[in-house]
């Protein structure tokens, strides 16, 4: 008898442990099931919303990584202060444009990793040659972006030349200081 009672007590304790102390979870109840279904549905909706946000984050990160390839990197393209001017000069030479001036490279910080590079230039030439110059700039890699372009007619009588002022801009990856 003692063995039976001990066995009974052990069985009850085991069941309580197995059910996490919640003996009610064994008793069938439609309301409890319905509540669980609602909870699951709510959790699933919240997870779907978060997944969507996560997908946006991943897409933004992917775009950012792709863009990094289009930015100026001193380690790949050379020192910007020198190479930018050099590339512009080469482009103008190819187009047959004689630039009056090419400014120095200005740097503006975007964040800890990136910075804008800007360089001004000016010249006087026909629209055809200027167009050739723009085409040469268009071909350059990494991409060069026109921040500003001013064109106006030269004030000389019957002149076909145009006075050109422009600013090119790039995004550069902050060089890692050793």
């Amino acid at each position: 008898m003692t063995f039976i009672i001990a066995g009974l007590v052990f069985s009850v304790l085991f069941l309580l442990w197995h059910l996490g102390g919640n003996i009610g979870s064994v008793i069938p109840s439609g309301a409890r099931l319905e509540k669980l279904r609602t909870d699951r549905q709510k959790a699933a909706a919240e997870v779907a919303e978060l997944e969507k946000k996560m997908a946006e984050v991943d897409a933004a990160e992917k775009t950012y990584r792709e863009n990094l390839g289009n930015f100026w990197n001193d380690a790949v393209s050379g020192y910007a202060d020198v190479e930018l001017r050099k590339k512009i000069e080469e482009a103008s030479q190819k187009a047959g444009l004689k630039l009056n001036s090419i400014g120095t490279v200005r740097r503006t910080r975007i964040n800890n990793d990136l910075q804008f590079l800007e360089i001004d230039m000016s010249g006087v030439e026909t629209l055809e040659i200027l167009t050739n110059f723009y085409e040469e700039i268009y071909k350059l890699r990494p991409k060069f972006y026109w921040k500003r372009v001013d064109l106006r007619q030269e004030n000389l009588q019957d002149s076909e030349r145009l006075v050109f002022n422009g600013t090119l801009r790039l995004v550069a990856i902050e060089p890692v200081s050793k």
């Binding site: 008793i27 069938p28 919240e46 921040k147 500003r148």
Partner: protein, 419 residues
């Protein structure tokens, strides 16, 4: 004795000297076992008292099957053969047969009989006991007085197995001076002759005594030979079929036994309980299964939610910075293409004297000699631009100056857009 345990049989025999012998036996391991014995000597007391006394000594309740065996005053016994027939017809046939078998029949008599195996000629052996109608009255009175019901009253020789039919049967409850052998009574000439040898062997082969009944089993077999004979007979499954021929007690003295019906009812009840329990168990298992599945799924989703929230929190600042960089308006990479589109759309009569291309807009100063030139509708065809402001001024009689500003329809997308 519980409903599902082996049935217990109580056999009490009464001899001519009102000496009572009783046994309680039940089936155990394919053998009958006597578990209690008792003897009770009347000694002038009433039968009712002695019967009550021995039953009390045997610890008999109402659930045991009670058999009383005795020879009655004026009784007669014979063996015969009859064609197979129903109990009622056989009773009538045997009553008719008794007139031939017994020399002097009582005027009003009752018969009880048992049937045996069929003979080779198709007839059936029958053992018949007859007694005067009033001979049972003392027993009935005693039973009524003690309110005791008896399952059967049996004359001992009716229970005699056919295989010991030729044995010399001398039982204490029967005639002292005659023994039964074959189909007739014989006078006892030699008291030292061996009687009941075959019957004792038969009983010893089928019945055993519990050790607490006594230390000398051989003596016990001899002492309780008649109760053993009747007990073995009553315990035989064929006894039920014989009961109709043995029924001589009035119905009010015979108990109504519902043991089988009660067993069936109990089994049915148990089956219903099992069915209900099984159904409930299945319901619980189904519920538990779905409950566990839903709980696990919800827990998994909550874990995923926490994980995503944590990742989003970690990446929130980084995400905002990446979006800001992705949407940076760096400038116009496709300026040459846009300039070509603008040139193509520009009417031939228009002379652009000044163009200022900035991040978000294009300012144009145009001179034309055509007075009715429609620059607005012309430039509307240029993709990605819309006219923000338009102003024309007459410079002279023939020249008109138009100042207009085009803004981008889509704001610059910076590095990713590549305008």
């Amino acid at each position: 004795m519980s409903l599902f345990s082996a049935a217990e049989y109580v056999v009490v025999t009464i001899d001519k000297a009102s000496h009572l012998r009783g046994i309680v036996l039940h089936r155990r391991h394919k053998r009958l076992e006597v578990i209690r014995t008792a003897e009770y000597s009347g000694g002038g007391t009433e039968l009712a008292e002695t019967l009550h006394g021995i039953l009390k000594e045997l610890e008999v309740g109402k659930s045991e099957l009670l058999i009383i065996g005795s020879a009655l005053d004026g009784g007669f016994f014979f063996r015969t053969t009859t064609p197979p027939m129903s109990v009622r017809e056989m009773g009538s046939a045997l009553a008719f047969d008794a007139q031939e078998q017994v020399l002097q029949l009582p005027p009003d008599f009752r018969l009880q009989f048992t049937t045996g195996a069929q003979t080779s000629d198709g007839e059936q052996n029958a053992a018949v006991y007859g007694f005067p109608a009033g001979a049972l009255l003392p027993l009935c009175t005693a039973l009524s007085k003690r309110r005791r019901r008896v399952d059967a009253f049996i004359y001992p020789l009716l229970a005699l197995p056919e295989q010991v039919g030729d044995d010399k049967i001398l039982l204490p409850e029967l005639e002292e001076d005659f023994y039964w052998s074959g189909k007739s009574w014989h006078p006892v000439t030699d008291r030292n002759a061996e009687y009941n040898r075959g019957l004792l062997e038969f009983l010893k082969a089928n019945v055993s005594f519990d050790p607490k009944c006594g230390s000398n089993p051989d003596a016990l077999y001899r002492k309780f030979i008649t109760p053993l004979l009747l007990g073995l007979f009553a315990e035989n499954p064929a006894f039920r079929k014989q009961q109709a021929g043995l029924a001589v007690l009035p119905p009010f003295l015979r108990p109504q036994r519902y043991r089988t019906q009660l067993r069936i009812a109990a089994l049915l009840g148990l089956a219903l309980l099992c069915l209900g329990a099984f159904s409930a168990l299945r319901s619980i298992v189904d519920f538990r299964s779905e409950y566990t599945m839903l709980s696990n799924q919800t827990a998994g989703l909550n874990r995923r939610k926490t994980e995503l929230q944590s990742r989003l929190r970690r990446k929130d600042k980084e995400f905002k910075e990446m979006v800001r960089v992705n949407e940076l308006n760096i400038g116009d990479h496709d300026m040459l293409i846009n300039l070509a589109r603008l040139s193509e759309a520009m009417p031939a009569q228009a002379l652009v004297t000044s163009l200022r291309w900035s991040e978000n807009a294009v300012d144009l100063i145009i001179q034309t000699a055509q007075q009715n030139i429609d620059m607005v509708s012309t430039l509307r065809r240029v993709p990605m631009f819309k006219i923000n402001s338009f102003q024309n001024r007459q410079m002279s009689d023939t020249v008109m100056m138009i100042t207009l500003k085009l803004t981008r329809v889509q704001p610059g997308k910076g590095a990713s857009g590549g305008k």
